[in-house]
Symmetry: C2
């Protein structure tokens, strides 16, 4: 009804015949205010239906208590787990979280970054878009001393805390597992090489081949954007090789699923003819038939860690910080798509 009548600290001050500064301090639990006055002020504020004007406070303090989060796609299970972790920490420490999705597009990511910047977020947590190879839009933040934390898809070119998962180890174990299942020609469908995560997964794959005494074959490695469609194209290419693969390690579950789909459709048995392992442990991976072996990433923990590191920086802006790159463990989940009876 009467929304022109917001109570301010001045109204409270006037009513109690004290100054606005005292009211402000009391409401903020500033220890310099005596217990008695604080109680009185809180009671009166309550009675008068006072609600603090966050906008005024933000303006004055130049802080918004807001963390901006940019992820490629919020509906990816991994990312929504990370977001949940971030929210968990942020709420506890009194920060609000603004989530945006880049849809893996550089242009959208850039616009989001600008918006967050203009809205003066106190810090940013980001996993960059697949397309992103230029980082000017992210330089905005360091330039104004606004902390950034990168996770998963990190950027070498910017100095900041980075949380990555052990892509190398996950890929290594996945590939070793395929070798242990008796596979001799293990193919790899990987992502774009501008993203470290895919570089590392590929490196893990190659190392595992070497350690298993298997030769590497360029023809068995295909890089694309890991969509459903490209997964099918890739597997078709692999099946057309003179020497077909007997196992495929895919850098994400979507590709693994489309690969399996195509293999079964064209008459191959999974895992007996060709075993498949994916990456990320998307929820569907255990629901499909055959269920997909995959590598689990600790999304929730990554979110917690990212938010912790970010908030620490926000609260200690002056301090010189030693940036660190934290590697979170991954683990292999063996399911039907790779579990051969030996």
């Amino acid at each position: 009804m009467s929304d022109r009548l917001e109570t301010t600290i001045h109204d409270i001050a006037k009513k109690l015949n004290i100054s606005a500064s005292t009211v402000s301090r009391a409401l903020k639990n500033n220890p310099v205010i005596s217990e008695a006055t604080r109680k009185l002020i809180n009671k009166t504020a309550e009675e008068m239906g006072y609600r603090p004007n966050t906008l005024a406070a933000n303006f004055r303090t130049k802080r918004t208590n807001t963390i901006g989060v940019i992820v490629p796609l919020i509906h990816r299970h991994f990312f929504s787990s990370v977001i949940s972790g971030i929210e968990e920490v942020a709420y506890k420490k009194g920060f609000t979280v603004t989530i945006s999705q880049s849809n893996d597009l550089l242009e959208k990511e850039s616009k989001i970054a600008q918006t967050l910047f203009a809205n003066r977020v106190d810090g940013v947590i980001i996993s960059i878009a697949m397309e992103t190879t230029n980082f000017d839009h992210l330089q905005l933040f360091p330039a104004k001393n606004i902390p950034i934390v990168f996770f998963d898809r990190v950027v070498d070119e910017i100095d900041a805390h980075k949380i990555v998962v052990d892509d190398f180890g996950g890929a290594y174990r996945a590939t070793r597992h395929l070798a242990e299942m008796g596979s001799k020609r293990i193919a790899h469908i990987g992502g774009p090489m501008n993203l470290n995560i895919y570089k590392n997964r590929q490196a893990g794959y190659l190392k595992a081949l070497a350690d298993s005494g298997l030769p590497t074959d360029e023809m068995l490695v295909i890089n694309n954007n890991l969509t459903r469609e490209q997964g099918i194209e890739a597997v078709q290419k692999l099946l057309n090789l003179p020497e077909k693969p007997d196992a495929i390690f895919c850098a994400n579950d979507t590709t693994a699923q489309s690969v399996i789909f195509h293999l079964i459709k064209t008459g191959y048995k999974v895992p007996d003819d060709i075993a498949v392992v994916g990456f990320s442990n998307e929820p569907f991976s255990e629901m499909v038939t055959p269920s997909i072996s995959t590598v689990r990433q600790p999304g929730f923990l990554i979110g917690i860690k990212s938010a912790d590191l970010l908030i620490e920086q926000i609260l200690n802006k002056q301090k010189e910080i030693e940036f660190q790159t934290i590697v979170m463990p991954t683990d292999l989940i063996i399911r039907e798509s790779s579990a051969r009876q030996k």
Copy 2:
């Protein structure tokens, strides 16, 4: 030059020997400023590295150009589609979107609402949590004349624009389809009756039974929270009935999937022994085997419509608005889980 700080409109004004008001107007493309001065001001602003202080503007205008979105779970495909729709519109009209998830918990939803309120969002778009039966936390907004738009899981008790999908029609068509496939005893696993969407789906189911000349049987209707676990419990109960069902219409895809999983595990053939239809068209529903027949909801369109209606209210605050409830169409997707050879 005191410009280790941020450039303000006053700095620009001083440099050009004009007033801050003119600068402000020029930067806002206020038509009252002549073309010449506007160009000069924009150029100078650019040169001086001016960036508008959104916080100051927000404070002054009491507007944040921010829309708060509250959904149960962002990783549900339906909700992330809606969010994409909202973002699409919001971005175009210069609004920022803050997304939060309630995890289907009343308490979290309530905290989020308070945070959004304290942060002075200009409007809210929400689909309420499964638990929510009390709406005090949402009354905050109407009380301060902050518009809300409800979608999908709407609330009768608050007067506002509401966008719902045609749950009744979708359920009706799903059930009719099961009847046409020859099912005589069609069960229903539904959600909590405090949510309209589940009430309507159940009503559609019942009407379809009646129109198909099938008797209704209380024993064939089970209501729970539609989780995986509860889906399995429910189907166990149904299989223990003296007269088992030959089809099950589930109010979401998660339940449908767990039901199918359990049926196959216990030796039933889907769809031949028991046909199953879900609801929402989650991406996994077409990837699992058998793929799940389901009801598609136009999430993206709902997001667009919600944002349109909300922003219209934000921009025309004074106007009396006739609140409307918009019903969006649904359609049935027939897949393997219900496609019997007749």
